[in-house]
Subunit: 424 residues, 2 copies
Amino acid sequence: METAIKELKEKAQAAKKGARQLGQLSAEVKNRALTSISAGLNSSKDEILAANEIDCREAEASGMDAAMLDRLKLTSDRLDDIARDVLSVAALPDPVGEVFDVRTLPNGLLIGRKRVPFGVIGAIYESRPNVTIDISVLCLKSGNGVILRGGKEALHSNSALASVVQKAVITAGVPGEAVQFIDNTDRVLVNHLLKMDSFVDLIIPRGGAELISFVRENAAMPVIGAGESVCHTYVDHNADINMAVEIAFNAKVQRPSVCNALDTILVHADIARSLLPVLATKWAGAGVEMHCDERALSILKADSSLKLAPATDDDWGREFLALVAAVRVVNSLDEALEHIEKYGSGADEAIVTEDYSTAMRFLNEVDAACVYVNASTRFTDGGQFGLGAEVAISTQKMHARGPIGLRELTTYKWIAFGSGQVRL
Amino acid sequence: METAIKELKEKAQAAKKGARQLGQLSAEVKNRALTSISAGLNSSKDEILAANEIDCREAEASGMDAAMLDRLKLTSDRLDDIARDVLSVAALPDPVGEVFDVRTLPNGLLIGRKRVPFGVIGAIYESRPNVTIDISVLCLKSGNGVILRGGKEALHSNSALASVVQKAVITAGVPGEAVQFIDNTDRVLVNHLLKMDSFVDLIIPRGGAELISFVRENAAMPVIGAGESVCHTYVDHNADINMAVEIAFNAKVQRPSVCNALDTILVHADIARSLLPVLATKWAGAGVEMHCDERALSILKADSSLKLAPATDDDWGREFLALVAAVRVVNSLDEALEHIEKYGSGADEAIVTEDYSTAMRFLNEVDAACVYVNASTRFTDGGQFGLGAEVAISTQKMHARGPIGLRELTTYKWIAFGSGQVRL
């Protein structure tokens, strides 16, 4: 283990050295590296798929469930998609080097903030091998060195993918040291990595809630990651019923396993009798189970085709990540706001209303990363927002909120051009 | 103690409630509160000075040293200054409500980032009572609730000042709950406060290194605070000697006890013989002691009027906060950059040079909050930078770097104006 720790430290040091050079490179050179990664994914397809085959076989033998296996699996088509995504990151504007808030002080000193990379980003992730490429590419484009530590189930796949990245960056004239892959998946090494704050500036955990909270609790450096994401949609009494049904249906059903899917629907009492039966029928058609408060239950219980259950206290503020929704009838906007304040996690919240002042109050008063009027919470996504790919969706308030794209992977420094100024 | 913990929790909850309302208030109302605080400092001068008198008498009796006593002491003039500073914060633009990065997505959804307060800021500080006003005012203006926990030596002063703030905000129509003062200075309560991340969004420690690292290690919420600040000035062989001497003199002598004062001067070997004797004589006139490497020592040792000592390994990367400077002769810009990378703390770094490419390399390659060409590092300050007052100078990379002014006390949320958009 001591050798492994020493090796890890050497890799972290090398990443820092590589990152220093990478941080100075032009968008042109960085884009060349990305294009070259994309090409490498095509030309090394056979090796990557063979490596993935080993991981999948071992995972199957160890009894991994079908959903996990599907996340682990690479195919020729999936690799094509990944390679195409790399090119789309190459096409995004480079955030590094932007100079903003420039001003000349009364003494003539010209100062401004210049956007710069963080330095080295450590990525700790689980079984999806595509993360190796996603994170490498976003870090490279934003000028950051990266240390990759994927899950042990995907070790062969990740190793093959990381090797494509490393070869490609060197071909493009980017220092290979800037991308480090940890091939020893002993958990103890993660603990050590999390303490190397003199080499690693930022940690991004990608995976389940357990991984993320482990990283948050143990990292000596800052962490950017998604917390729990409990999403509410409030249907006001002045809502367009058809619009409300479409939005709630989309928010719950379009991809139920993701963080911006609807968890709880709050319905104003005055519209509950007209809205809930329509929504419930539509949801039931997609297999949605509804955990209803008493009033919602009394409206819906006559219809035996619905999957209904009485809501328990645990249902409020719960992230379902499945075809389940909690349903509550409220008497007012204020009651909805209080519910969201109490049970929300500062992620994605929506209102459906035709009333202008109600819409504006909701936008102003809800404290969350993304607040929507008359739209599905499913839009919270770097790609949808026009930021390009994202490494995570943040529910924290510091630094960046919502999608973490290229710009959010940078910081700034003040630069000052003087001519001998001293402070009086 | 249990009652005290319960009270603390109630105060934190109340602050959150007050902050929710405060966050919605216009600049006009918040400025009225600030004006009213400034007036209150004048009209309550007698009570404040009487309270401060008690603190000073107790501190003197307990043997507090003169420098600490001076920090604790309020006078009529000092109160006038504080009251004037409050008005200057009132005159600053309000960062809250700014909407930026607005775009209409192809599906018609209008999205943008809106600048909003963090929520509740906890301030933990030591013996300087003016911090009670400084932090309250910056938090109020940026729409944040604040929980004040000052040092026990200043309890009477802080209590009198906090009461001025609380009365003034209520007069101005701001919820009084938004400003909470902890009058129990038992250290155990700080530990509890640092765990109340469901009510407190951000902690700002103001004081010595020990306090700051205690807060960093124990806070469950994000922390913004100054870390150690080791500042280098590198004098290139192409420097204007006179300018270099003036800059180094100012950076070391103008206010040696602060974080942006010079700690180490790095001098190119080709200019060392012409520069060092002039600088040393000027520094000696101000009482500066020089801890020199061998080469610097050999240049200066003949002059017995200088206060010289051989530098030890501990002198590199040391924040002196006193009239002491470490001096090292280097052979090149690269050697200077390596020294700064190894020993710097990411605070304030300067180069003096007439060579354009050298200046640009230094600006680009030094990884620090503020990087200067041909100017004193003493300029790192919210007021000097035109940001207005600051609560701290950050050496961290997340969220904000350098002076933490009003805008840096805010975050943003995404707001989206839809017309029924759902994700395809």
